[in-house]
Each structure stands twice: as C-alpha cells, then as structure tokens.
C-alpha cells in the first residue's frame, strides 16, 4: 500500500520525497510568517506555481481550499471591525476600518498560500513515502511506525464505518436534536473502538509471531537526482526572495 494521493507524472511527482517534505515545511513557514502584502502575495504566487507544476486538478483543489478557508470566515466577521484605524466602507451596518480590512486580506492570502503549497507537495506524494522521508530526516522511529500503522487502520475503519452507516439507514435511524442520536453516535464510536482494539491485539500477536522486537525498518530508495538539486537551489532562491520581501 503506497497511498498515492494523486498519482501522476508531473515535475513534483518526480521529486525526492525528502525534498518535498522540506519544501512544504519551508514554504508553509514563509507563508505563515509573512508580515507584508508583497511577501504574502509572493508566497501565494509561488504556491500557485507549485500547484501548476504538480498539475493539480482545479476542481478538487478548489474544494479542499474552500474547507481550509472556513476558518477565515471568523476572521472576516471580526477583524475588519475590531482593528482601530482609518475608517473604511460600512459593511452590513457596521463601519469597517482600512487596517482591519487589509489585515483580513493579508491573512486570507497567507492562509491560502500555505494551504495551496501543502496541496501541491502532499498531493503529489505517497503518504508512506513521506513517512519514510520523515524517518530519514530524523523523525523518531516509534512515531513514524505509529503513523504508518494508523494509516493502515484508518483504511479498515473507514470501511467498517461505511457499513455501520448503512446499518443505521437500514434500521430506520434518523439523526435529530436528541439524546438518542448522541447515544447512537457514541455507540458507533464504542463499537469501532472495541473491534479495533481486538484487531490491534491480533495484529500485535501476528507481529510477535514474526519476530517483532520493537524495532521498525523503513524501506526507501531515495536518491537525489539532478532534478532534485535544481529544485533545491530554486527553492532556496525563492525562499530568500520571499523572506526579503518582508522588508516592504
């Protein structure tokens, strides 16, 4: 199971997962720590470029972005009105301020720059490869092992959960604003937990039978190619440029 998120042959797909991991971390930091408009826009432009390089499908990408933007609704509801400064247009009966609007806009750009970068780099990778890359870059062995096991269990759980939802339908369950609904969802969680723990115990027993002593090994064939070196250099240039724009 490689868990390829969006299989393809774009430039990003061909990059070493270690580079992508470093890239997404660095770009997220750049986006998150941008203080000025130009810096934030640069981060967004870069993210768009990465998305293009990764040949991300516009439809699903937009959908995922809209989920991330959900948090921004909060920001837009309050920031334009709570930042003191030069008054701006009146929105919905309340008077917004220019600094407030600018800040909300800045945050919007930053949030989307970070999210789009993540979409580009994660979206063109396989989750298991990323885990192996993290291990190579120094992530603790225990943590990485649990991460991969979690991934495997999630696949099984989501199937089980889908079947339970069918059972709910078949047994005439209709969710509503009542305790019965909450108890039902709690029971679903409970049964998933109990079944899952029993299964985890069987997995553990099977692992013991195959000589498990607490150590995990991760396979990877990572090798930095010319493309990776080029990517690394470009990334370094872009990052410095982006950081420098914070002066403006």
């Amino acid at each position: 199971m490689t868990c390829d998120l969006n299989p393809g042959r774009s430039v990003l797909h061909r990059l070493d997962p270690r580079l992508k991991l470093l890239a997404v971390t660095a770009w997220s930091l750049l986006a998150a720590l941008s203080r000025t408009g130009p810096a934030a826009l640069f981060a967004l432009a870069g993210a768009l470029a990465f998305a293009g390089l990764g040949r991300l499908a516009p439809g699903p990408t937009a959908k995922r972005l809209s989920a991330v933007n959900f948090f921004l609704v909060f920001i837009w509801l309050f920031l334009p009105f709570s930042v003191p400064g030069e008054p701006g247009p009146a929105l919905g009966g309340l008077s917004a301020t220019k600094p407030g609007l600018e800040l909300a806009l800045l945050l919007t750009v930053k949030v989307n720059a970070a999210a789009l970068g993540a979409l580009a780099f994660f979206g063109t990778s396989s989750v298991t490869q990323l885990a192996a890359a993290a291990r190579r870059l120094g992530a603790p062995e225990k943590l990485t092992a649990v991460f991969l096991l979690t991934l495997r269990y999630f696949h099984v759980l989501s199937l089980e959960y889908a079947r339970l939802r069918q059972a709910l339908k078949v047994r005439a369950f209709r969710p509503g604003l009542n305790l019965h609904t909450l108890r039902t969802y709690a029971n679903l969680v409970g049964i998933l937990l109990v079944r899952g723990v029993d299964r985890a115990e069987r997995v553990h027993a099977a692992m013991l039978c195959r000589g498990y002593t607490g150590r995990f090994w991760f396979h990877d064939h990572f090798r930095f190619t010319g493309l990776d070196w080029l990517g690394a250099v470009l990334l370094a240039i872009l990052l410095s440029g982006g950081a420098a724009l914070n002066a403006f």
């Binding site: 078949v170 047994r171 005439a172």
Partner: protein, 217 residues
C-alpha cells in the same frame, strides 16, 4: 385470490462505478405469503440486488416499486425501510449497541415508539428468538449464531411486513440454522432470501430463482 405484490422490480440495470454491468435489465415480483429463495454464483449480484431494494444503491436504469409505489429518492426509501426487515450477511455489520436489549430496542426507538411498547417488542422478540434472559448480555461477546439471532430480532422489532435475508445461514452451525427456520416460520412473514445453501432453501422456500448474467431465472 391474487396475492399482493410487495416488491416489483422492472428492467433494473446496475453497475458499480467503473465496473462491468452487474444487473442487465432484471425483473422480479415478490408477493405476500411467499418465501422466495435467490441463489447464484459469487459476484452474480445477489447482494447488490438487495442493496438496490433497500435503497442503499441507486440503479442506473429501471424501477424499484415497493408496496405499490415507485421508490427513487432517499425519502422514499426511508419511508419503507422499517417495513423491509433487512438482515445483513454479517451480523457484526448490523449490531453496535452495548447489550442485546439495546440492539433490539434500537429500531423501535428510531420509530419514536413509547417506552412500554418498546419494552413489549423487545420481550416479544427475545421470546421468539429463544433468547430469554439475554437482555443484559453484551452483544459483541456473543457467539456467531447468537449474534445472527439478535440481528434477526433487531429486524423483527420493527414489525416489518417482510424479511430480507442476505445469506442467513452463512457460518452458522446446524443447530442455529434450525432455530432460524423455526423463527422464520413463527414470524409468519413473507421472506426474500439470498442464499448459497441449497438444502436450506429446499426446506424453507416456496419459490426459487437463480441469478446469472445479470438476470433472474
């Protein structure tokens, strides 16, 4: 005296996304009073057919008529599911409440029935299942056969007009199969049964069809 048609399927076609056609224009009439046995090879589409009847999947073409009215939307199916008494092949897919009494009460609770009525139905079901004293037993820890009986009970407490059973005898010992047959008979309900078990169907079915190549014969 003609028997009422409970379920009527016309020209049903279905394929899973990206897969080959499973049903190719299937027709079926299921009438009150009968116990209809459906057999067929693995992958012939028997479970799929049941899912279409329950509205758990949407056909690409054809109509599903239940109790004399075509059913298309989720709303339509929500209306009839309590009356269709569906029992999954794997009891574990169906049961998720802590105790047997809880699982038996779940359906009636969803129907918004009164406490006394729910209590009555649970006691009635336990009696019919031969599981007196099982109220407080933990469903998850029961044996496979006991779970299957509880699953059937969970369908029965909805007071359905018919039963739909997907491979009811799978993984059951002969003793439990025999109890199952007794329960079916005692319930007096018409039943649509998908099964590999030819001997079982020979004993319980009043009519038998085979599913092959996307059609029923």
């Amino acid at each position: 005296m003609p028997s009422e048609t409970l379920i009527s399927l016309r020209d049903l076609t279905f394929a899973y996304p990206g897969g080959p056609p499973v049903l190719k224009g299937l027709n079926l009439d299921f009438r009150a009073g009968e116990t209809l046995g459906l057999s067929g090879a693995n992958g012939a589409g028997k479970s799929t057919l049941l899912f279409l009847i329950m509205g758990l999947a949407k056909p690409q073409g054809g109509t599903v008529e239940i109790f004399g009215r075509p059913r298309r939307t989720e709303r339509d199916f929500q209306e009839v599911r309590p009356s269709l008494g569906f029992v999954f092949q794997d009891a574990n897919d169906q049961l998720f409440c802590p105790t047997v009494a809880d699982d038996l009460a779940f359906g009636p609770l969803n129907l918004g029935l009164e406490h006394e009525e729910i209590h009555r139905r649970v006691a009635e079901a336990l009696d019919m299942l031969g599981l007196a004293g099982f109220e407080r037993r933990v469903t998850y820890d029961l044996s496979g056969g006991e779970k299957k009986l509880v699953a059937i009970g969970a369908a029965l407490t909805l007071h359905p007009r018919l039963l739909i059973l997907d491979e009811p005898t799978a993984a059951l010992d002969p003793g439990t199969v025999s109890r199952l047959e007794d329960i079916l008979a005692a319930s007096g309900l018409p039943a649509l049964i998908v099964s590999h078990d030819q001997d079982f169907l020979a004993r319980v079915a009043t009519r038998r069809l085979t599913m092959a190549d996307g059609f029923l014969f």
